[in-house]
Symmetry: C3
């Protein structure tokens, strides 16, 4: 944890708990959309919230992963799932919207915290950026695959998902490497990534397709 003082460490951990809560909500809402029962809601919430971090910890060699040793992470995920079990989303559209917003928040927060942790474990800047992106995409991929969907991040109608994630992780990795990194920089990166993701949903921004594909031919696969 060299070079990161106590306040920064506290902020880092708050960011991670907030990311876990956001992804847990998105997992629980995805389960509600699939008409799962309470057990399914809780399991999908926990798997979505903790999956990305477990993959990150396995890759850096931090075993057992934090999710199994620090109970605040599973407890935060359980609380978020409990909220969805008692609170009825007013409508299907509201459920979808909440899912997208919580997913975007988790995306931004995990992109930053994942990259910071990878850097603290001594990875190079490109490696840390790659791992930060893996961390923040991982939970959502697990959620989508467990609920029988092609991962959002790969869908042709996907709007921007991986691009904000990678841009955010790469910026944080560069800041950590070349500047005197301050927590507010990470927070700013997370906010920009979340804004980019939500903006792409609101305004229909899409990633480019190869020149030889015509978008009107791209029928949705989901």
């Amino acid at each position: 944890m060299a070079g990161i003082n106590e306040t920064a460490s506290l902020l880092q951990q708050s960011g991670e708990v907030a990311g876990v809560v956001a992804f847990a909500l998105s997992g629980a809402l995805a389960a509600v959309r699939k008409n799962m029962d309470i057990v399914g809601i809780v399991l999908l919430a926990v798997a979505t919230a903790l999956g990305g971090g477990i993959i990150r910890d396995l890759i850096i060699g931090n075993t057992p992963p934090n999710a199994f040793t620090e109970m605040k992470y599973p407890v935060a995920a359980l609380c978020a799932a409990a909220v969805v079990c008692v609170w009825q989303p007013p409508s299907n559209r509201m459920t979808k919207w909440s899912l997208e917003v919580t997913d975007a928040i988790g995306l931004g927060l995990f992109a930053v915290t994942g990259t910071v942790i990878a850097h603290e474990w001594g990875m190079s800047a490109p490696g840390a950026a790659l791992l930060g992106m893996t961390t923040c995409i991982g939970g959502g991929v697990i959620r989508d695959m467990l609920s029988g969907q092609i991962p959002t991040v790969l869908q042709p109608s996907q709007h921007l998902y991986a691009i904000p994630a990678l841009a955010c992780a790469a910026t944080v990795a560069a800041l950590l490497r070349y500047t005197d990194y301050q927590p507010w920089m990470g927070l700013a990166c997370a906010v920009i990534a979340i804004a980019l993701r939500l903006g792409s949903l609101r305004f229909g921004w899409h990633g480019p397709q190869p020149w030889y594909m015509r978008r009107q031919n791209a029928d949705p696969i989901d």
Copy 2:
């Protein structure tokens, strides 16, 4: 292996081999139901039988996992797959029934052995319970996802699956922490978990749904 004597260790290993055989049978039967050929039957059996234990070993940091270093586990899985390749299940209903029974047996046995191993590696009681549940659910999730299904444990029509698993793992974790754990306690927990799972299939016990979902609206997703 502190506090566990040789007989206990032998029982632990027998329980694990029995769990591997049970899950291998369930994987092989799932492959038969999907009309796979012998290669598919063997691969799905091995992936189902060893998958949960490999995930467990990666999480506790026991690399390479036992499945790659102690040949009794892959060999047991191969033998179980071979049985399914030569023995014809009398009917489709019998295949489904055998799949469910072997899956339940593997579930109970792995919940116990996974929790015991996590405890031996020094995990706290809640962490060991979580990991025990992950171990016993993991193999079945791999089997279902490889064969193109939403995991049984998440399906709305799922009957009880994760609840017996978690109850069993949590009880074993508490016994290991607060009592002088004896192998027969683990065996009793496994038997109760298996009975709960089979009872829920026989008598149609379901997990609760959130109050705002009406079950009659819950159309099956698989």
Copy 3:
């Protein structure tokens, strides 16, 4: 790296980079077939190319995996994805054919390099063969599951896939254990595995089905 001199190590690394490129091309082509955009093409290419090696490194305990520490692997995968983004496959049939050929090349190369690396890390011959097979199948399974398909290796209409992989890995493991292993032996094994795979596609060789299944009843599941 005992017993393997510098030329051999160079050949080993070339083999791995070539395998990464081959699998990246197969992932990118699979993404094109699913009408994904450039982000999807790049992500699926990278996940396919690096997935098998990451699983291998996690299992032998080599953390962080090479894919995150040696940038030549992600860069090679990115370059391969870029080629697919600018080069239009002349026809759908050509896309399918290129996908199958690149997948076969990756299969053969990773079966050899995965087994050699497992041996270098001190695994027994059967363990190394198992891990070599896992490495070379892993990337393709990730590609197929991410794009919403039952993995090629399990499909009843699969032609030979796992059999060449296992035969190649087992032969290399035996050569490493019982002979003075030379790189050309590995290359020969890889070529034979690739030829077997392509031959099975060309001439319709299939794996055996259990005697009680009649092939004409085996309707395709994909």
